[in-house]
């Protein structure tokens, strides 16, 4: 197995689309393992020093609980994108958005409903692979089932990557535990709205 190809990427996103369209919003959210209390917000911010500190400072000052946060440049070098998931039990989403909007460096804010957006998160994980042959097959099947990738391996370990819906990462992580996780990193989710049909 190698790095993902475009074709594989497309296959993944098709799954996501059908996932979401065949179910009612609540079912889809539930199936995706999302508590309704976590909502994803995508902000476009000016690419200037200190902007992340302003956003993070606002969250802590106003008592907003952030579940995950991902920051990256955009296609336009003047702007960056901060995608975060907020615990709406800690504060109404509306207040979070309105307070963020007051930050001078925040240019655009989009709230993404879990059912009208495509969410992805990347996980890198090192698992123990010095196991019996049967177990090793089990591991390779698991990697196949989840469409994960083996990025590196040694006598005793495998370094895997998986990009998928956060809930699917949770599931993968759960299954890998039986083999023994040595190290694991997740990026926090990023999201874009689905295309209207």
């Amino acid at each position: 197995m190698t790095e993902p190809t475009n074709a594989e990427d497309a296959a993944e996103s098709e799954t996501a689309v059908s996932d979401a369209t065949e179910r009612t919003p609540d079912e889809a959210a539930a199936a995706a393992g999302e508590f309704v209390q976590f909502r994803t917000v995508v902000t476009t911010v000016e690419n200037k020093p200190g902007v992340l500190a302003r956003v993070a400072g606002l969250f802590s000052r106003r008592g907003f609980n952030i579940e995950s946060l991902a920051v990256a440049p955009t296609a336009d070098e003047r702007f960056s994108r901060i995608t975060f998931t907020v615990d709406v039990a800690s504060a109404p989403l509306e207040q979070v958005v309105k307070q963020l909007d007051k930050l001078i460096n925040v240019v655009e804010i989009r709230e993404l409903s879990p059912v009208e957006s495509v969410e992805r998160e990347l996980m890198l994980v090192t698992v123990k692979s010095a196991v019996s042959n049967d177990r090793r097959h089990e591991l390779l099947d698991l990697i196949d089932d989840f469409r994960a990738y083996v990025l590196d391996q040694s006598q005793t370990r495998m370094l895997l990557s998986l990009s998928a819906r956060p809930a699917r990462l949770d599931e993968f992580e759960q299954r890998l535990r039986t083999f023994g996780i040595v190290e694991l990193q997740r990026t926090g989710r990023v999201a874009l709205p689905m295309l209207s049909q």
Binding site: V45, G50, R54, L58, K102, I104
Partner: protein, 577 residues
Amino acid sequence: MDINGGQALVKALECEGVEVVFGLPGGAILPVYDPIIESPIRHILVRHEQGAGHMAEGYAHATGRPGVMMITSGPGATNGVTPLCDAYMDSVPLVCITGQVPYPAIGTDAFQECDTTGITMSVTKHNFLVTEAQDIPRVIHEAFHIATTGRPGPVLVDVPKDIVDPNSPRSAMTWYEPSDDIMELPGYNPVTAGDPELVHAAARLICSAERPVIYVGGGILKARAAHELRALAELIDVPVVTTLMARGAFPDSHELCLGMPGMHGNYTAVTAMQHSDLLIALGARFDDRVTGRLDGFAPDAKVIHVDIDAAELGKVRRPDVAIRGDCRLVIAALSEALGDCGGRAAQADRRAWRSQISGWQERYPLVYEQSQPGERLKPQYVLEVLRDSTPDDTIVTSGVGQHQMWASQYWRFDHPYTWINSGGLGTMGFSVPAAIGAKVGMPDRTVWAVDGDGCFQMTAQELVTAATGRIPVKVALFNNAYLGMVRQWQEMFYDERYSEVYLSYEVPDYVKWAEAMGCAALRAEAPEEVAPAINEANEINDRPVVVEFRCERAENVYPMVPAGLSNSDILVDPSLR
């Protein structure tokens, strides 16, 4: 034109129409102080940077123009944090210029380095760290634009020394005129006009309300909407309450004015809101000092909430109609919509409501007992005499504590921008520097600072600034020998266990202290001495004057809604119970 960054900064301030800067120099800001010598801008040299900030606030409150403070890096900047936070809480337009260590030294713990933008991030509307001399005129223009538009607030500009120091090559720049066209603020688009459909929805709610109250906050003054407010109230004949930040926005002597609501508001203002079926909240933010316990606040009222800051709409109380916009424009639109609906004739019958309100007014006036011979002065009495012995448009600033509440209660504010106090942050020490700033901005007006003995001791040294700068403010010092407001809470809620609230009547000797600072000083101890002392003080216009009033120490502020209780549990003066 090739100039250096320091010259550009001063020139940029001139371009913004700045006439006065309050500040105090130091190493990092030195290069900006040099061109001040040639500039027409007046600089007021303060004795503590906190004073510079409160002066800039007083100036801004009184004039409507942004206040400007200029201080050095490190300790200068940290001393400026309190007034920045104060201005942030009370939405005061302020621009603060701070010196910073040279750009290459940032992050090295250089002498007098502190992370000024980091420290002030949560107490400013926005802040900038300028890194290139060439950016200075643009950033200064952006700072004034942000400070004065939308919901006003403080903006800080941190300026590393190497971009303003003529000895540094990095300070070279080519001058350009700052203008709106060169601003780079893609994320800042303040909204001003309200949505007409929502305005009509609000008008319909108003017409059918039987027990409406107009609840006015400081936003009315920021929007300069006092005139529009009065027209609206008179058009629909609805009573008005003015919060601590809005005193003067609607004349106290107007028959529709119910005065101040809240923790120490008067009974009628508080109770009318409690019984109301429609609160028309204009530039107000449902502060806990106004609402009391939230789930018991105005339980039957629908809410129309108008504010320029969308985040205020629904932050505390869910409105039935929420209109984001500038109060002046929205009120004008609302009056027009109400006129279209038939004006006063279309309003519900509110005779019962009016008579209920006047019943409360008669039954629960503001009262206090005059002192007996030999007792110390009653602060309420002093305020009444002061009110009646000063011009109608006197500007009153206040500290924080009992004296502040009595001043707000007993003064008769009939003009906007005559009451300047620290509402949101409640900053002791506000009144003396704020009075100085107000007087600098409004030199032809009489300015009285109403201050407590505790507050006075926090910023009194600015009277040196006033004396040397010939800024003749007047200070009414309410000496009750106590941190009185805290003493009152200890009496009422801590079983009269008085912990660390006693100051002293005698030490310091306020008369000597004031004289040492270059002020005239008077003391009044008996009721018959009050008016003569005030009259004498009113005659002194060549220097500041301090009048110490020796006041009763055990006097409590009533009415009071104890913290955590509902406004329906309001305690009136014991003599009315």
